[in-house]
């Protein structure tokens, strides 16, 4: 043990008997269990932890906490670790960041010499023109980027998320926060107490005997209250609408970090106070630190922060720091009391503090300068609740206004000052009120905690750093003001002050105060910048966490996989695109018989006496006279007349229908029907039940489909007269009862769509293949189906139509019945029918060169290089042995026989002829009616 480690302190968090060995910058060091990386290194005589962002100045300890701007390090593969907060663990490999080529020597120190180039706005002015050099500038600027390194091969850890619910969440577990949590729990509500540090207690932890005694009592009380869930090393990083809180939990055994999404009825913000650095020349030298830092190092980590100290104090904390330094055996050479008008001018030294110059002109040799010149209330969470902090001249800090939103409370130092008893009393009163509010009560307002007077101290007569992370000085802010950036928000963006890793917690007030000085205004007039989430940095891992994305599979999925299916991800569904040769699969359907798994087709069970009214409303065609056992094709439009889904609906029984939708439209159509039933026609008696995956749906298509099915179907006469095209039957298939058979044909062949109870889907599928071997039955995938339907000229909604395609322009004019009573889209379709067609029309196109298949979305160009349409679908037709297309063309190009010019993606142009009908194969439909 070297002499920098003090004898045991009453409040220390160290386990003296448990040394921890680790490496720093390649060398081995030993600390103690309970040490942070910073305290362990300080105890070993290390004082420089990083090089600054712009000027590469050596930086040491400033706050000795999470916020410490100079103490960001790399631990193994993990960059940007806050060494003032992270506890030592055995064997960790800690390295400095942003130090090329080494921590001790850094050529960029030369930047200081050229400092005038790097003043505020340097980047904006220097790297703007010419634009062609931006890539080069990017390369240069990348050298300046601070931050650690991640390795692509680094093992990514596990992150976690969970939801939590508490009536009261208390953010901050200092004395007031603990008192609030206790009072709320004793009022009978569930409480979550969240503390950023590793232990409860706030400033009591580095206090004297009295504070430690009271802390022990408070901790025991919290432990004894089962209604309080305590989270340490955790931080409320964001407050969103209705007290939706993001809480980051660190230091867990199984995961790197966990993001808790907590819903609180009331939020108590007890974030305490953050000590504010003082601006003077040399204020970033290693050896210059805040009073709270010195007190934490001495009392929590038993580290002597220096040997010869000057203390600049304007408050009790500074006085207590001076006392702690004396108690730690530090030579306290001068206490400069700002309350008596004393002050310091500058600190000097090369690479570390050597001397301090005082207002009286004297120069004091010292290796430690402790400042205690004021406080900042970290009001972030209150800001996020819509509360703007107000400048208080008396206490020289921004404070939250007394009037807070109903569900948000504040207590402790963030609100005001007081003795420990006063803080505890305020916390208790606020906790009680928060619990009452959480239970819907209207508690009386809690008497405010007043703030004590404090001298307004921001800057000495010299210029120093305002933002240590971003290397922004008070001189930069004066320069910015001179250039006209005269508001807090503008100066922030121009100088980047407050935009570094500590996000303004140390810097904001000094930035505003220096700007006020530079522009001759008051701090209160300027106001603070707005604090937004996150309050503390969150790793991307915690945000991403475990990501959930539901997938959907049919009952036949495992079979598809086992038979070489190429997977097609269609929304949430995973479908077989093909089993290797889509063209052969399509040919087999035309010659023999194929089966395709069409389970994702939306299926809605419609029941009730008013189903025909619903169908008449949502489809453009007529449904009143659909007989039991029949099915009909229908198209749905939105209120603007644009096609949004199509499908067939069959009448199974008197009051029972089955509607099918497109696979991608299944959810939307269901909500659409519910919308009309619930909001416009609640009097209609209809029940809509989605049964999409209650059935496994298989299309059996091809000239031999009837023969194949006849070997499996029981109880249904499949003969053409008994079961004609566009009809539906119920029967038994391969021993499975309650199967539905529709005689419809997307492929253009004789085909049956069978819907079997999903648990038997695989059984029926395998039975079809088994009994149809001699018929040449084979599975086909989505791609083969696309080829077949294109040959038949069947459109796909959303591919051959778009967000502007009204039903009439999609070749569906024959379907629309404008003589119906109201139906969705009728008004627009009626007006459209009264005017000459202006919208593009869907037509079939035959490319002149049979061997060129124009890519889908190829433009159709017309005279004067105007666009006259586009190809919506294209394939090589196995049946015709040539290219075929569907496309949307201007109405004047839609006449049969018109030759249009298609521009291919590579710029070549080919010709195509507009056909009379959409179908290329079997236009009269003899095959599917066979």
């Amino acid at each position: 043990m070297n002499d920098l480690r003090l004898p045991p302190r009453a409040g220390e968090v160290l386990e003296r008997s448990s040394p921890v060995t680790f490496t720093w910058d390649g060398r081995s060091y030993t600390g103690l269990t309970g040490d942070t990386i910073v305290s362990a290194l300080l105890a070993n005589g290390v004082q420089v932890f990083s090089r600054s962002f712009k000027y590469s100045r050596p930086r040491g300890v400033l706050t000795a906490s999470f916020l410490d701007p100079g103490c960001t390090v790399q631990v193994g593969d993990e960059p940007n670790v806050r060494a003032g907060h992270r506890q030592l663990t055995p064997g960790i490999d800690v390295r400095p960041q942003n130090v090329w080529p080494s921590l001790r020597f850094d050529p960029r120190v030369a930047n200081q010499a050229v400092g005038r180039f790097l003043t505020a706005g340097f980047y904006y002015k220097t790297f703007m023109r010419p634009q062609r050099l931006w890539p080069a500038y990017q390369h240069v600027l990348a050298q300046f980027a601070s931050g650690g390194r991640t390795s692509p091969s680094a093992e990514h850890g596990d992150y976690d998320k969970r939801y939590a619910h508490a009536e009261v969440v208390v953010a901050g577990a200092g004395p007031a926060g603990m008192a609030a949590a206790l009072a709320a729990a004793r009022a009978g509500v569930r409480v979550m107490l969240v503390e950023e540090e590793h232990a409860l207690g706030g400033h009591l932890r580095w206090g004297g005997a009295t504070e430690l005694e009271r802390l022990a009592e408070l901790r025991a009380a919290v432990r004894g209250e089962p209604g309080i869930e305590v989270l340490v090393n955790s931080v409320v990083t964001g407050r969103y609408d209705d007290n939706w809180l993001a809480i980051l939990q660190r230091g867990l055994p199984h995961v790197v970090e966990r993001l808790i999404k907590a819903r609180a009825a009331t939020l108590v913000v007890a974030a305490g106070l953050i000590e504010r650095p003082y601006v003077f020349s040399g204020n970033d030298l290693p050896g210059v630190m805040l009073a709270t830092a010195a007190r934490r190092l001495i009392n929590l980590y038993a580290v002597r922060p220096g040997t010869r100290a000057v203390v600049l104090t304007a408050n009790t904390e500074g006085d207590l720091a001076a006392a702690d330094l004396l108690g730690a055996g530090v030579d306290l050479v001068r206490v400069v009391d700002a309350r008596r008008g004393e002050g310091i001018t500058r600190a000097t030294g090369r690479g570390r503090l050597r001397a301090v110059e005082l207002f009286d002109g004297s120069r004091v040799d010292a290796d430690l300068l402790v400042t205690s010149t004021g406080w900042t209330a970290p009001t972030s969470l209150l800001n996020m609740a819509g509360v703007a902090p107000v400048w208080d001249d008396t206490s020289a800090r921004f404070r939250p206004p007394e009037d807070l939103p109903d569900t948000v409370f504040a207590t402790g130092g963030i609100v005001g000052d007081g003795s420990l008893d006063e803080l505890l009393a305020h916390g208790k009163a606020v906790g009680t009120a928060a619990a009452a509010r959480a239970r819907g009560g209207r508690p009386a307002p809690v008497t405010a905690l007043p703030a004590r007077p404090h001298p307004a101290l921001f800057r000495s007569p010299t210029h120093g750093f305002v933002d240590f992370s971003e290397d922004v000085t008070s001189k930069d802010i004066f320069a910015a003001a001179q250039e006209g950036y005269d508001s807090s928000e503008l100066v922030k963006r121009f100088t980047t002050a407050t935009m570094g890793p500590s996000q303004g917690k140390l810097e904001t007030v000094n930035t505003v105060a220096v700007l006020a000085e530079a522009t001759g205004r008051d701090v209160g007039q300027l106001g603070t910048t707005v604090w937004r989430p996150p309050y503390a940095p969150i790793s991307l891992g915690a945000l991403a966490g475990v990501s959930f994305e539901a997938t959907r599979r049919s009952s036949i999925h495992a079979w598809h996989q086992a038979h070489g299916a190429v997977p097609l991800v269609a929304g949430q569904w995973i479908r077989p695109d093909s089993y290797g040769d889509a063209v052969a699969e399509a040919r087999n359907v035309r010659c023999n018989v194929g089966i395709i798994d069409v389970t994702p087709l939306g299926k809605l069970d419609l029941r009730g006496p008013d189903v025909p009214k619903l169908l008449n409303l949502v489809y453009v065609n007529k449904w009143s006279k659909l007989a039991v056992g029949s099915v009909r094709y229908g198209v749905m439009c939105a209120e603007d007349g644009v096609v949004f889904d199509d499908g067939v609906t069959g009448r199974l029984e008197q009051d029972r229908y089955l509607m099918s939708t497109t696979s991608s439209g299944a959810a939307a159509v269901w909500e659409w029907l519910e919308n009309w039933l619930q909001t416009e026609h609640p009097e209609w008696q209809v029940h809509v039940t989605p049964v999409t995956t209650a059935y496994t749906s298989i299309n059996v298509a091809g000239p031999r489909s009837r023969e194949l099915l006849s070997r499996l179907v029981d109880g249904v006469n499949l003969e053409p007269d008994a079961f004609p095209y566009m009809h539906v039957r119920t029967g038994r298939i391969a021993g499975v009862d309650e199967c539905l058979l529709w005689r419809i044909g997307f492929t253009g062949e004789l085909s049956y769509e069978i819907h079997v109870p999903a648990s038997y889907g695989l059984h029926v599928w395998e039975s079809l293949l088994e009994v149809g071997d001699d018929l040449g039955v084979a599975a086909f995938g989505v791609e083969a189906q696309r080829i077949l339907r294109l040959e038949k000229g069947h459109l796909i909604v959303g591919q051959d139509t778009d967000g502007l395609t009204k039903a009439a322009s999609a070749g569906l004019e024959w379907l629309i019945k404008l003589d119906k009573d109201d139906f969705v889209g009728k008004a627009e379709l009626t007006w459209a029918s009264e005017l000459p067609a202006r919208a593009p029309q869907l037509v079939a196109l035959l490319p002149t060169d049979p061997n060129i298949v124009p890519a889908e979305a190829s433009q159709i160009v017309r005279e004067a290089e105007r666009i006259g349409g586009r190809i919506t679908s294209s394939r090589r037709s196995p049946e015709l042995g040539r290219a075929i297309c569907l496309g949307q063309v201007d109405p004047d190009l839609a006449t049969s026989g018109t030759v249009v010019t298609v521009q291919l993606p590579d710029g070549r142009r080919v010709e195509a002829t507009v056909m009379t009908e959409l179908a290329f194969v079997d236009p009269p439909g003899e095959r599917l009616r066979a």
Partner: protein
């Protein structure tokens, strides 16, 4: 007429791994586990979706409001799964019985009872850590004061719309979860993955009356 005899076997979307047995026409696993947290695939149970007016005679006869679940005299678990909507869970193969009983209750308005056995996957999660596992996936407050035994709700579980029924066993917390069949495997695998830290294991299928 087909000249072959078929012996159809019903299968859950969650393929059982070992100790396979056919129970009530369904292929299930009978492998028991003694882990502290158990996940069972109960998909073979009969499931019937009933719709009627929330203020009609059927609702009055069922006496189960939305958000609650109760067992009726036949042992059917009647879940009030929405306004005017009930999900009934019964032993394997009993869907038609349940539908028959529903239609036997007179109501002057439209009543529909649909067998959704094949349209849903049904899981049971049992063990003291069940609420802790669910709180990783589901935003609903599972505290006793909010979601006591026999509470029912539909919400998001791992971003999947899922019906959850708290149906405690004699000695431990237990939740029934059912979702749309095609996502059953997703839900099952997600629960197993998220439950690793609690030692979750698959457990054998048990019919309602077993």
């Amino acid at each position: 007429m087909p000249d072959m005899t078929f012996a159809p076997v019903a299968r859950s979307p969650i393929q059982p791994q070992d100790q396979l047995e056919v129970v009530g026409g369904w292929e299930v696993s009978r492998r028991r586990s003694s882990a502290p947290l158990l996940l069972q695939d109960l998909t073979p149970l009969a499931k019937v979706l009933v719709r009627a007016r929330p203020d009609g005679q059927l609702a009055a006869a069922l006496k189960v409001p939305s958000g609650r679940a109760e067992r009726d005299v036949n042992g059917t678990l009647v879940v009030g799964s929405g306004p005017g909507e009930w999900t009934m869970l019964a032993a394997t193969g009993k869907a038609h019985d349940v539908i028959g009983r529903v239609h036997a209750i007179a109501d002057d308005a439209l009543v529909s009872a649909i067998d959704i056995t094949h349209g849903r996957a049904l899981l049971r999660l049992t063990g003291a850590d069940a609420p802790h596992l669910l709180s990783k996936l589901c935003p609903i407050d599972l505290d006793d004061t909010v979601t006591p035994d026999r509470a029912a709700f539909r919400s998001s579980v791992a971003k999947l719309t899922t019906d959850v029924v708290r149906d405690d066993r004699a000695t431990s917390r237990s939740y029934l979860l059912h979702c749309e069949r095609s996502s059953g495997l997703y839900l099952y695998q997600t629960l197993l993955e998220a439950g690793k830290e609690f030692g979750v294991e698959p457990d054998a299928f048990l019919d309602f009356d077993e």
